[in-house]
């Protein structure tokens, strides 16, 4: 679905990510792990077209899009939910969602989609008339993700959806991401929270200083001592694997959607 090869991108002509290659298959959650400043957000911005690609190619559903405008990429079905939520603070929740559906697509209408979002996040329905800037951080994140879903994307790039959220909300957000995959969406999940990400992801890439240093199935990575040391904050990989694999199940149980 998404096929990136040899991609370099950065600011003011200076590359931050170098010669980067990765793929996301249909219906997959791919986690992008790395510390602060590793280049995760730069990669996300390069994929959505906010930053130009300095070298390399990005193919989305077979078509080369590395020169396409952000708008064209949204139309193609590649949607980026940026770090820090970036809701339109002065507009109402409903207006934010409407803007999410700015790119018109055949199929259900904007209002029908909005209903779906409201069903998923009842709190957004309650607050649909209030200004987005007055929402709490967690509600804003819900809004940002819903806004991204309004255009009916095929691939969703989520950049740090758990950043700055209370721990209970973090679990809620991850459970929802796992559920989105169930609806056939492909997801590229850029996160610092490696444990949670690996728990729901199919595969993962580890980014360091703008280069991929490790990649593989999430289940393998979660057992790797390297990951454990650097990103899970554990001295040794002595945690039982069940606990991690059970995480999704527990999350689902805790936050069952109708």
């Amino acid at each position: 679905m998404l096929d990136v090869s040899g991609l370099s991108a950065g600011y003011d002509g200076r590359a931050v990510i170098h010669d980067l290659s990765l793929t996301v298959e249909q219906g997959e959650i791919v986690a992008l792990l790395g510390a602060n400043g590793a280049g995760k957000s730069t990669l996300a911005c390069a994929l959505s077209g906010l930053l130009p690609a300095l070298a390399g190619s990005i193919r989305f559903q077979g078509a080369a899009i590395e020169r396409a405008s952000p708008a064209a990429r949204v139309s193609a079905g590649l949607v980026h939910v940026p770090e820090g939520r970036q809701v339109f603070a002065g507009l109402t929740v409903a207006q934010n969602l409407e803007l999410g559906a700015y790119v018109e697509r055949p199929g259900s209408t904007t209002s029908a989609r909005m209903e779906t979002m409201f069903d998923r996040f009842p709190v957004l329905r309650q607050r649909s008339g209030s200004v987005a800037g007055n929402l709490s951080g967690g509600q804003q994140q819900m809004l940002a993700i819903s806004r991204g879903l309004m255009s009916g994307p095929k691939l969703l790039i989520l950049d740090e959806p758990s950043l700055g959220l209370a721990p209970t909300l973090v679990a809620e957000v991850f459970a929802m991401i796992a559920e989105l995959r169930g609806q056939g969406l492909s997801i590229l999940l850029s996160e610092q929270n490696a444990r949670m990400s690996l728990a729901i992801a199919d595969r993962a890439y580890v980014l360091e200083n703008g280069r991929i240093t490790l990649s593989g199935p999430a289940a393998d990575l979660i057992r790797s001592s390297e990951i454990a040391k650097r990103y899970l904050g554990l001295g040794a990989p002595d945690r039982t694997e069940e606990s991690d694999c059970d995480l999704v199940a527990r999350l689902r149980a805790a936050f069952a959607w109708s």
Binding site: D12, L50, P70, A71, P82, A89, G90, L99
Partner: protein, 635 residues
């Protein structure tokens, strides 16, 4: 009673003009959250083009108007695509102010080259004969104006509030990055708003053309009054724009009728300040209130260039002293000497502007206003009361600082564009006072016979003496400020420039420091104005008018903001070049505008920054600390 109704009617028509001018600001603001000071220039451009097209093709004025508006839109398309939209993506809001001030100057200069400095009028759309309603006289053009203003403002309001495009416009202003992630072509939207606003401005210009005469530089009046109307009505609200315009129109017309036309300009300024203080989001703002000044913090100001420690500092000082000694002998005669003296005098004023803009990050468009206060106070005191020049200069200084304190108290909690627009209004007020108070200032023809500067009987009456006076004052100011800016005071100012909130959190009294910087800049402007008058023995309004404010802005940006020494390059270039190339004098305004635009876009650190970079390259090894990378609006 009939008289009153007639005045109110006149005010409403005037107000329709203001409302029409204001809606252009609102439209651009709604999409880019920037203020386009060049808006007024497009009004004049539209009117001038219409006049020429009508002359050339012999068309009816309305038909010519359509072509004129189309031609203006085409020009705006080029200007927007080449300058305004690229500027938005790389400059902070305060720098956009400077950029559009440069555009205004450039377009005015270009109009001067193409149409000369005489004034023009257009034919009325439907004859000159006024309608008679009862005892009232209503010019038909006024009805056209009112109708056009209502139609356009309502139309823009509908587009903004009802359409998908209107929503997209709003998204672009709220958060350009998120907007482009929604699939909105942000650059295209920004360009569209710029061109649409310019076209509306041109329509306004053509509609006003028959009512008031206009010339190449009338645009800045339109910019000011349109902006004031937009602020009164609520920035970004087209219906607020027309409401604000009508309020402003009626108020100023009544003031002009019953008090004096001088008072009407003052009233406009007072209205503006009152609204800014009382309801910064405007009288008729709809939707959530939003303070423009808060947005300033969104983008980071570039840190100014520093040369680092100067091992050759003493050598450089020696060279400067030597140069000062030799220079006047080398150019004893001719106009060059005079230019150099003017450069030194203006430098004093521009360095004051640098303290305010380069160090505190505030924008002032009214520096020449303080020059006028200093110049006129000292001259009037010397001419009418025989007050010694030094004492007169001090009086002017005190008066300037007093004005600055009043302005600052009004705007001290306001940042960015509020101070800029208040100072612009202040400058225009001073303009109208210097022209209007004929008994005191001599009116448009100015004051003549001003004595030479003298201290305790020593008269500075030869060019050489004046040179040492001006150069000496400039050198003293430069040395004092350089010392001051290296100390705690300068650090506090720079902290405010970098991040007012963080500075306040560290215990810097932001308001107080801002006021101090503003007072310093006013004082230096005033001193410079006094010296100016004593040197020329003559002072007229246009020598210290608003266009000089804009020129000094160009001098500062070209020289290098926040460097104290850098502005000398800017002042020298913009003063000496027109003297050196006399035939090019008519291109001066255009050139200044173009330089301002180019430097603020491509070389924000000015000539000084360029030289500093070269010095760094020439140094054998990295002695100076590496330049701090300017982190712009990194998403």
């Amino acid at each position: 009673m009939l008289q009153l109704v007639q005045y109110v009617l006149g005010g409403l028509l005037q107000g329709a003009i203001f409302g029409l001018l204001a809606v252009g600001f609102s439209l651009i603001y709604r999409v880019t959250s920037a203020i386009n000071l060049a808006q007024g220039a497009f009004c004049i451009l539209g009117a001038l083009l219409t006049g020429s097209i009508q002359d050339a093709l012999g068309l009816h004025v309305m038909l010519a108007g359509v072509l004129g508006v189309a031609a203006t839109a085409l020009i705006a398309l080029l200007v927007g695509a080449a300058i305004f939209v690229p500027g938005l993506s790389r400059l902070p809001t305060s720098a956009m102010f400077i950029l559009t001030a440069g555009l205004l100057t450039f377009l005015e200069g270009a109009s001067l080259v193409a149409w000369g400095s005489q004034s023009y009028t257009l034919d009325a759309f439907s004859g000159e004969r006024p309608l008679r309603l009862g005892g009232l006289l209503v010019p038909t053009q006024g009805l056209w104006l009112l109708g056009i203003a209502l139609a356009i403002n309502t139309g823009v309001a509908l587009v903004l509030s009802r359409t998908r495009m209107g929503r997209a416009f709003q998204a672009c202003a709220e958060n350009p990055m998120a907007a482009s992630l929604m699939g909105i072509g942000v650059g295209r939207m920004q360009l569209l708003s710029f061109v649409a606003a310019a076209a509306i401005g041109a329509v306004a210009g053509v509609a006003i053309g028959p009512v008031t005469s206009f010339q190449f530089d009338t645009g800045r009046m339109y910019t000011t009054f349109g902006f004031i109307a937009a602020v009164i009505g609520g920035m970004g609200s087209p219906l607020g724009a027309i409401a604000g315009g009508l309020c402003l129109g009626v108020a100023t017309q009544l003031a002009a009728a019953y008090v004096s036309s001088l008072f009407s300009n003052a009233l406009a300024l007072v209205l503006l300040l009152a609204v800014l203080l009382w309801r910064p989001s405007g009288l008729f703002a709809s939707g959530p209130a939003r303070r423009q000044d808060v947005r300033e913090e969104k983008r980071v100001n570039r840190p100014p260039v520093r040369l680092g420690a100067q091992p050759g500092g003493i050598l450089a000082a020696l060279a400067a002293v030597l140069l000062l000694g030799v220079l006047p002998w080398w150019m004893r005669s001719g106009g060059l000497m005079s230019s150099v003296i003017i450069t030194a005098i203006l430098f004093v004023s521009v360095i004051g502007l640098d303290v305010l803009m380069g160090f505190t990050g505030q924008v002032s468009l009214g520096q020449a206003g303080f020059m006028a206060i200093g110049g006129y106070t000292a001259s009037v005191l010397a001419l009418q009361y025989d007050v010694p020049p030094l004492l007169g200069t001090l009086c002017g200084l005190v008066l300037s600082v007093a004005c600055a304190v009043v302005l600052a108290l009004g705007t001290v909690r306001l940042r960015g564009i509020y101070l800029a627009i208040a100072t612009l209004a202040f400058s225009l007020l001073v303009d109208s006072l210097t022209v209007g108070l004929e008994g005191v200032t001599g009116g448009p023809s100015g004051l003549v016979g001003i004595p030479s500067f003298s201290i305790a009987g020593f008269v500075f009456d030869t060019p050489l003496r004046n040179f040492y006076l001006a150069a000496g004052v400039a050198a003293v100011v430069l040395v004092l400020l350089t010392g001051g800016m290296r100390g705690a005071f300068g650090r506090a100012l720079q902290a405010i420039r970098a991040d007012p909130l963080a500075a306040a959190a560290l215990g810097v009294r932001v308001g107080r420091y801002r006021m101090a910087a503003f007072c310093i800049s006013a004082a230096l402007g005033s001193i410079s104005g006094s010296l100016y008058a004593f040197y020329f023995h003559f002072l007229s309004p246009e020598m210290v008018g608003t266009q000089i404010s804009l020129q000094m802005l160009a001098m500062l940006v070209v020289g290098g903001e926040g460097t104290l020494f850098g502005p000398l390059f800017g002042v020298a270039i913009l003063t000496l070049l027109p003297t050196a190339f006399q035939p090019l004098a008519q291109f001066k305004t255009m050139g200044a505008g173009l330089l301002l635009v180019l430097f603020s876009m491509y070389l924000p650190s000015g000539i000084f920054g360029l030289l500093a970079r070269m010095v760094r390259l020439l140094r054998p090894r990295g002695y100076a600390p590496a330049p701090v990378a300017a982190n712009g609006s990194a998403p």
